[in-house]
């Protein structure tokens, strides 16, 4: 499933520190947008504000036909936003007391009200898609980092979110597991899924994204197709950053 996303004037402050200084961003259905930039520039906060893991101070978030005014969002608004977004965490954040299959089923049975049978069938289908068809009964503690992150992605997939949010999905992984997780994200991207990815993997951003956004100091400094950002960046700050990481 895929939705149109429109973000207007999103502001987030932690005390006196302005982390997001008014972000405007639109995503077309099925569009894949990668966000790059130095640490501490609000990339993750932007993602976390979109589903209210961090509560934005001002701005408007619209996903599909749902539009929420951040400053006066009710509990119901927040839940509605969360039910339209899937979130993949840097540290996987699998439910430690649930097996891989139960991790995938949880949102379906508890949030969506699916029957146990339907949810289990869908979970098993996704487990096969993420290459873990035989690990459904494993608890997170018994899985490798790469496997855990694939389950983390599967948990977000299970809800058929209109917008998938990836918060540095490979940053906590040992190098040997990065490849399998990126492969999985590529496959989801091929399925016409609208996604917003914060990543430090420049090569990955270049090949998967329709559009790359460079953020610094809580603002979008520059954006464009990967070829432009990586090949012909206009802003000095973008070029300086790419030189450092490149």
């Amino acid at each position: 499933m895929s939705g149109e996303v429109r973000i207007e004037g999103l502001v987030k402050q932690f005390g006196d520190n302005t982390v997001l200084a008014g972000i405007d961003l639109e995503l077309e259905p099925g569009e894949r947008v990668a966000i790059i930039g130095p640490s501490g520039t609000g990339k993750s906060t932007l993602l976390r504000c979109l589903n209210f893991l961090d509560r934005p101070d001002a701005g408007r978030i619209a996903i599909g036909d749902l539009s929420v005014d951040a400053a006066r969002a009710s509990k119901a608004d927040v839940l509605a936003l969360r039910r339209r977004t899937g979130f993949v965490f840097q540290n996987y954040a699998l439910f430690a007391n649930k097996t891989a299959r139960q991790n995938l089923m949880e949102g379906l049975t508890v949030v969506r009200g699916w029957s146990h049978e339907d949810a289990a069938a869908k979970a098993d289908d996704i487990l096969r898609q993420i290459g873990l068809g035989d690990r459904g009964d494993s608890y997170p503690a018994a899985m490798s980092g790469g496997q855990q992150q694939r389950v983390g992605i599967g948990r977000a997939m299970a809800l058929d979110a209109e917008l998938m949010l990836f918060d540095e999905p490979t940053s906590a992984l040992d190098p040997e597991w990065v490849g399998e997780v990126l492969d999985l994200i590529r496959r989801i991207a091929d399925g016409n899924q609208t996604m917003l990815i914060v990543t430090h993997e420049m090569q990955f951003a270049r090949e998967i994204a329709d559009r790359v956004i460079f953020m610094e100091g809580g603002r979008i400094v520059e954006q464009g197709p990967p070829s432009q950002i990586f090949g012909n960046a206009q802003d000095d700050r973008t070029r300086a950053f790419l030189r450092r990481v490149g």
């Binding site: 589903n51 209210f52 893991l53 839940l79 969360r82 039910r83 977004t85 899937g86 979130f87 965490f89 540290n91 954040a93 699998l94 439910f95 430690a96 007391n97 649930k98 949880e106 949102g107 508890v110 949030v111 608890y139 503690a141 018994a142 948990r155 977000a156 809800l159």
Partner: protein, 224 residues
């Protein structure tokens, strides 16, 4: 000095045994009630519900700050003097009431600690898939907190079983009360109190075996 009257002790075994059910009844009922109450108190504290949070803090402070025996006397002898509803409260009820509130206060703090000890990412993951606060507590946080707090709660349960012996001061004939009566009649205090001590000891040790089994079961999600 005299020899221990083992024959008398053996004679007391069936007598004391007859009161084991009442002791266990008081302990189990108090424990279950305390668990429910303590969980509610802990959630109020964790969620920092306005006003209620203050009330609960005061409740916990009072019941942790005063002796159990004093609390039992308050419920049995004191409060009925001003509260008509409590007039004629029997000793067993008063003991269960007192044990529940007393231990709930302690357990609430342990449960609160265990809830706050669950990694923040577990809360966020549950929120991210759209769970309500109640769903995430019930489905994700409390089960994980239970695993960490189980040994502590078991300790409170053990303490509670022994705490039921104070009910004899409210005129309840439970294990301790029965031993007390026997000793008063036979003057064989050592035998009577020794046999009741052994009874408590055996009950607690039996529970400890159960505790280890329970912890193995609860620990299976983290076992590699």
């Amino acid at each position: 000095m005299r020899a221990l009257d083992l024959g008398y002790m053996l004679d007391l075994v069936p007598v004391i045994l007859g009161y084991v059910p009442l002791t266990l009844f008081m302990a189990v009922v108090s424990m279950l009630a305390a668990l429910v109450l303590a969980s509610l108190l802990a959630i109020v504290r964790v969620q920092r519900l306005p006003v209620l949070d203050r009330v609960v803090a005061l409740f916990i402070s009072f019941f942790r700050g005063t002796p159990l025996l004093v609390q039992l006397f308050l419920f049995y002898f004191g409060l009925p003097q001003i509260l008509p509803a409590m007039e004629g409260i029997n000793g067993v009820s008063a003991a269960i009431f007192g044990l529940t509130l007393h231990f709930a206060a302690y357990m609430a703090e342990s449960i609160r600690g265990a809830i706050l000890g669950v990694d923040r990412s577990q809360w966020e993951a549950a929120q991210s898939i759209g769970m309500t606060q109640g769903q995430l507590l019930r489905r994700i946080i409390l089960p994980q907190a239970t695993r960490t707090v189980a040994p502590t709660l078991m300790n409170y349960f053990i303490d509670m079983i022994k705490g039921t012996s104070l009910a004899f001061t409210l005129g309840v004939t439970e294990m301790m009360g029965a031993a007390q009566k026997e000793a008063a009649g036979s003057f064989l205090y050592l035998e009577a109190y020794l046999i009741v001590a052994i009874f408590y000891w055996v009950i607690v040790e039996t529970l400890s075996v159960g505790q280890r089994a329970l912890e193995t079961r609860l620990g299976k999600a983290v076992a590699r």
